[in-house]
C-alpha cells in the first residue's frame, strides 16, 4: 500500500494504480474525455492533467497515465491546472463549436466561448480521443477502425473509408464515443453504424420463433464461425431458447 495525497486528502493506493484511478475511487473529480476504465489509458485529451509535487518541485502530468508513488502530492485544481484545462476546452470548443457535449463540458469549466476568431471555428464532432479505436481493438478485438492520417488531418475511419469487412456491427464504438461522433441505429431490420465520413449497414437477423430482429447477421455469423457452432444455432434469439445445456 502506498499513501498519496490528492488535494490535501490522504489516500491509500495500490502499486501500479494511476492518479486518476485513485481520484475516481475517492470521488475526486478530474475531467477527462479520452479515458475509459476498461480500456488502456491513452493520454490524448490532456484534460486530466494535474500538478504533482515531488522533492520540492512541481510538474504537470496526465493523471490517467501517471503511476502513483509513495508520498506523491497531487493537486487537481490549482490555478495553473484550471487555466490549462480552460485552454484545452477552448481548443476543443474551436474544433467542435456545435457539439453539445463539448459545449456543456466547457461551460462547466467556465468556458462559454472560444477565444478564437469565428472564421476559424470548425464544426466537428470527433475529438480524436481514440476511445472507439481502442474499444474496437481491445474489447472487440476486430480493429475495424483506426486513426488515419496525421496531425490536423487525423480522423477515425475504416480502411479506405469504406465499410470494413472486420466490422461486425457491435456498436461498441458508438457506445463509447463521448461526443456522439459515431452513431448506431436499428430500424426496420437494419442496423447502421455511421460517422460523418463513413458508415456500414447490417441486416439484422429475425428470430424464427418470436419474429423479432435481434442482432446483425454478420455478428452472429462471426460468433458462429469463431466457436464452430451449428448453422442453426442462432435461428432463434436467446430469449426464445428454452434449454440450457
Amino acid at each position: 500500500m502506498i499513501t498519496i495525497s490528492i488535494d490535501g486528502q490522504e489516500l491509500k493506493a495500490k502499486e501500479g494504480q494511476t492518479i486518476l484511478e485513485i481520484a475516481r475511487e475517492n470521488g475526486i473529480y478530474i475531467p477527462t474525455l479520452c479515458y475509459h476504465e476498461n480500456l488502456s489509458p491513452y493520454g490524448a485529451c490532456r484534460l486530466c492533467c494535474v500538478e504533482i509535487f515531488k522533492g520540492g518541485r512541481s510538474r504537470i502530468v496526465a493523471s490517467c497515465l501517471y503511476p502513483v508513488e509513495e508520498g506523491l502530492e497531487v493537486k487537481t485544481n490549482s490555478p495553473h491546472i484550471i487555466n490549462n484545462r480552460k485552454m484545452i476546452m477552448e481548443l476543443l470548443l474551436a474544433r467542435c463549436s456545435q457539439n453539445e457535449v463539448i459545449k456543456k463540458l466547457a461551460s462547466e469549466m467556465g468556458v462559454e466561448q472560444s477565444a478564437f476568431k469565428a472564421k476559424y471555428l470548425e464544426n466537428e464532432d470527433c475529438i480524436l480521443c481514440g476511445l472507439c479505436v481502442r474499444a474496437c481493438e481491445q474489447i472487440v478485438e476486430r480493429s475495424a477502425i483506426s486513426l488515419v492520417n496525421r496531425g490536423v488531418n487525423r480522423e477515425v475511419a475504416p480502411p479506405f473509408l469504406e465499410p470494413s469487412a472486420d466490422c461486425i456491427g457491435c456498436g461498441s464504438c458508438a457506445y463509447v464515443c463521448p461526443t456522439g461522433a459515431i452513431k448506431m441505429e436499428d430500424k426496420d431490420g437494419t442496423r447502421v453504424v455511421y460517422a460523418r465520413n463513413w458508415e456500414k449497414e447490417f441486416k439484422l437477423k429475425k428470430c424464427k420463433k418470436c419474429g423479432n430482429y435481434w442482432a446483425p447477421e454478420e455478428q452472429l455469423e462471426y460468433i458462429r464461425e469463431k466457436l464452430n457452432l451449428p448453422p442453426d444455432f442462432f435461428d432463434v434469439c436467446p430469449n426464445c431458447r428454452e434449454s440450457v445445456p
Partner: protein, 294 residues
C-alpha cells in the same frame, strides 16, 4: 419434568426449512403432543442461510420461546451450509445430526462425526426426481422420522395434505423414500467434533457507532460475503465464450469481471448462484454446476 425435544433446522431462504419445522410441529400436535415451530426472524433473503426451530413436549405446554441453542436434533437442508455455519453448535451429546448430502455417510462422518447420531440422505436427488424442484423440506422430514420418534409419519400425512394440496402425494412419497434411503451411524461418544473456523460477526459497542448511526466507510458491504448463499456455481466453458460481457452486465451482484485473459469470471465471494448469467449467455458458454465447498 416432561421430555422436551428441541430441533434446529438449517436451510437457505426459499428452501423450505420453515415449512419443515411447521409441519413437524403440526404432526406432533396432531399426535396429541405439545409443540412449537418458529423461524429466526430476519431480513435474510432467498438463498441466505436461515434457521427454524421446533420444541416438542410429550404432555406439557412449552413456555420457552427463545431460539434453540442446545438442540437435540439438527437438520441441515443444504450441504453447503456445513462449511459456513457451525451446525453442530450446542448439539447435545447423544443427539442427532441429519444432513442432506450426496456424499457417503463414512465421508461425512470424517468431517462432521461426533458424540451424536449421524444421518445422511441425498434429499436433493430425491426431491428433483419426485418433485422436480430442489426443495427438500418434506424429504428431510423422512430423514427426521428415521432418526427420531418425536413425530410419526401417520400424523404428518394430514398436515402435508393441507399444505400441498395436489402435490401432497408426491411430497409424501419423497418423505417415505427419504426414510428408506437415510443411512444412520450411531454416536461415537469418544470422538470429538472437528473444529473448523466459521466466519463470526463482531458487533460494535454503542460508543463505536457514529452519531446518527451514520456509516462513514462507503461501500464497506464489500467485506460481507454473500457467496455463502450460493447453491449452484457458474462455470465458463472457454471454448464457447467470446468474452462479450453480457453475463457481467446482467449480474445482479455485479461480481462478474474479466480475468487476465479476458474471460469473464464470477467473484465467488459474492456470487449467489442465481444462474442469470448462464441463462442469458448467447453462446451457452456458462453452466450452473453443483456448488462444491472446500
Amino acid at each position: 419434568m416432561d421430555k422436551l425435544t428441541e430441533i434446529r433446522w438449517h436451510g437457505r431462504g426459499g428452501q423450505g426449512a420453515v415449512t419443515s419445522a411447521e409441519l413437524t410441529a403440526l404432526a406432533a400436535i396432531k399426535e396429541g403432543k405439545f409443540a412449537q415451530a418458529f423461524p429466526s426472524f430476519g431480513p435474510e433473503r432467498r438463498g441466505a442461510p436461515v434457521l427454524a426451530f421446533n420444541r416438542i413436549s410429550e404432555s406439557e405446554h412449552i413456555r420457552v420461546r427463545s431460539a434453540v441453542t442446545q438442540p437435540d436434533i439438527v437438520v441441515v437442508l443444504d450441504p453447503g451450509l456445513l462449511y459456513i455455519v457451525d451446525v453442530t453448535s450446542g448439539l447435545k451429546d447423544g443427539g442427532a445430526l441429519i444432513i442432506n448430502s450426496s456424499k457417503k455417510l463414512v465421508d461425512i462422518k470424517l468431517e462432521f462425526g461426533g458424540p451424536w447420531q449421524l444421518a445422511v440422505v441425498n434429499a436433493t436427488t430425491i426431491a428433483l426426481e419426485l418433485l422436480k424442484v430442489p426443495i427438500v423440506n418434506t424429504t428431510m422430514l423422512g430423514a427426521l422420522l428415521k432418526v427420531s420418534d418425536a413425530i410419526k409419519l401417520d400424523f404428518l400425512l394430514e398436515p402435508i395434505e393441507e399444505r400441498f394440496g395436489k402435490l401432497a402425494q408426491r411430497n409424501i412419497e419423497a418423505c417415505k423414500r427419504a426414510y428408506e434411503e437415510t443411512s444412520v451411524a450411531e454416536p461415537s461418544p469418544t470422538s470429538k467434533k472437528v473444529e473448523r473456523a466459521y466466519a463470526k460477526e463482531s458487533w460494535p459497542s454503542w460508543q463505536e457507532l457514529a452519531p446518527g448511526f451514520v456509516v462513514t466507510e462507503p461501500g464497506n458491504a464489500r467485506s460481507y460475503r454473500t457467496g455463502d448463499w450460493r447453491a449452484q456455481c457458474p462455470e465458463w466453458n472457454h471454448d464457447r465464450c467470446i468474452k462479450c460481457g453480457i453475463c457481467s452486465l446482467f449480474c445482479p451482484e455485479d461480481c462478474i469481471r474479466p480475468n487476465e485473459r479476458g474471460y469473464p469470471e464470477a467473484d465467488l465471494y459474492y456470487c449467489k448462484g442465481c444462474g442469470i448469467c448462464a441463462r442469458e449467455c448467447w453462446t451457452q458458454a456458462i453452466t450452473m454446476g453443483e456448488e462444491v465447498k472446500e
